[in-house]
Amino acid sequence: MFKISSEPFDPASLQRVLAEARAGACVTFEGWVRNHNEGQAVQSLEYEAYAPLAVKEGERILAEAHEKYALLGAVCVHRVGHLRLGDLAVWVGVTAEHRGAAFDACRYIIDEAKARVPIWKKEHYATGSTAWINAATRGEHATPDARPPG
C-alpha cells in the first residue's frame, strides 16, 4: 500500500497492519524534517504531489520490492502539505520472515521513491528565502541523479 497523506498519520497503526504470524522481522524508515540542509537553516517544508501518478509509481515500487525480496508486507506513506521541523515526512514499513530481506527491501523502497515518485519539496529557510529542491537550473544539482540526501 502506497499512500499520499495530507494529514499527520500514526506509524504504529500502520505497523500493526503489517503484523502477521510468519513475520520475524520488521524494518521501518522514517524521514523527518530536519533543521538544516546543505548548510542552510531550514524552518519548514512544503511537499506537493502529483497524486494519481505518485500512487501508481509508488505501488509499482512496492511491487518491484515484492519481486526482488522475500517480503510478507510493505507499506509506504508520504505526507504532503506544510510540515514543521521534526514532522514525519515519509514512512516505510516492511515485514519479512528474515531480517536481510526486510532491510534490503525497506532501503530499496525509500531509494526508489525518492528518485521516481512525483513529489516535490520546497524548503523555507531561516533567511526568509525558499527553494524547490532539485529544481536548480545549473550547478551541482543540475544532473538528473542529484537529489538531496536524507
Binding site: Y50, A113, V117, P118, W120, I133
Partner: protein, 79 residues
C-alpha cells in the same frame, strides 16, 4: 488541438496557475514544453523535465491527442 496542462511545484509557481486548457500545434510533450517554456519563461531546461499523459509517464516524443491531460514533471524530491 486542445490539450489540458497541469502544473506542479516550481512550474506551478512560474506559470501562476495549476491547470489550463490550450490550443497548440505541438504534437509531442517535448514540443509543447518548449512552446510553454518560451511563453512563460520556465527556468527548467526540457532535458530535466519528464512528461505524463493521462496520469502515465510517457516519452517526450509521445504523440499528443485531442483532449489529453499533460503534466510536466520537474525533478522529484520526495522523502
Amino acid at each position: 488541438m486542445t490539450i489540458s496542462v497541469q502544473y506542479f511545484a516550481i512550474l506551478r509557481e512560474q506559470r501562476g496557475l495549476t491547470e489550463e486548457r490550450l490550443n497548440t500545434a505541438a504534437t509531442t510533450p517535448a514540443a509543447l514544453y518548449e512552446e510553454l517554456k518560451a511563453r512563460h519563461a520556465f527556468s527548467l531546461p526540457s532535458n530535466r523535465i519528464r512528461a505524463a499523459i493521462n496520469d502515465e509517464f510517457v516519452a517526450p516524443t509521445a504523440l499528443l491527442r485531442e483532449g489529453d491531460r499533460v503534466v510536466f514533471i520537474p525533478p522529484v524530491a520526495g522523502g
